[in-house]
Symmetry: C2
Subunit: 153 residues, 2 copies
């Protein structure tokens, strides 16, 4: 079986990334500002240094959206996997795994010190997926989980 192709999105891929993210939120009944607003934001964000996206498949049927930020505990930046989505028709074909492996390789190459992701409590399949790809949901010292808290302003 051939490894699905994965590539770094450019500014010209803003509409493709936006369409996949919009589908993601539609599928899970989450609010979305719509593909046009997302594409406009992505044209700006993908041109900067604080965010990048990976596309999997040709044509693209999977996406990872990653933001970078500084962190005082590490010499390099920390990457947060904001979103990860594979279109329903393409699931089970290894696209998600190929995207994650590409992400970890890119981050290593670019001197990223750590990769983080927040996963829903009930999404046990996603938790197993990330564990298979080197992530841990428990503190190595205490064996304890951390909970994500937030407030919108």
């Amino acid at each position: 079986m051939t490894e699905p192709p994965v590539r770094r999105a450019t500014v010209d891929d803003a509409e493709t990334v936006a369409a996949l993210l919009h589908d993601f939120n539609e599928e899970f009944d989450t609010d979305t500002p719509g593909p046009a607003v997302l594409a406009e934001r992505l044209r700006s964000l993908l041109a900067g240094t604080g965010m990048f996206a990976l596309l999997g498949g040709a044509p693209a049927v999977g996406v990872a959206l990653v933001s970078l930020r500084p962190n005082v505990w590490y010499p390099g930046p920390v990457a947060l996997l904001d979103e990860m989505y594979v279109a329903p028709s393409a699931r089970g074909g290894g696209i998600g795994g190929a995207i994650i492996e590409h992400l970890v390789e890119d981050c290593r190459r670019d001197g990223v010190s750590a990769i983080e992701i927040n996963v829903d409590q009930a999404d046990v399949d996603a938790q197993r997926f990330y564990e298979r790809h080197g992530f841990s949901g428990v503190d190595p010292d205490t064996g304890e989980r951390a909970y994500y808290f937030s407030q919108e302003l």
Copy 2:
């Protein structure tokens, strides 16, 4: 009772912020690269736009370290409260609450769209503290928590 003073740290406060963060990790037996390395990183980070710190008390006995990153779902940046620490001798005096209120006001003023924090599962006091200050640990739609996953590179 007078509200404890809170102010935005400048590059000149790098040593003060570093000393408090170092004490934090010493108190909780977490690895720290030491105050000199932290201060060097903070002199660079506090001069940029991706991170800021708030100091509470005079002299400073509390600190919040906050990183900013872009997010496709919001028009403004998202703030992550990376660290929040009040020296043991100063606890119970309202310094933590004053810092958080100042943080929320600063973020509103600066157009930040959301504030996030990861809280240890067992740290129920911290979870109540953040809930009192407007944070929620559950998704408003599903009532579900999200777990923090990570891998160091």
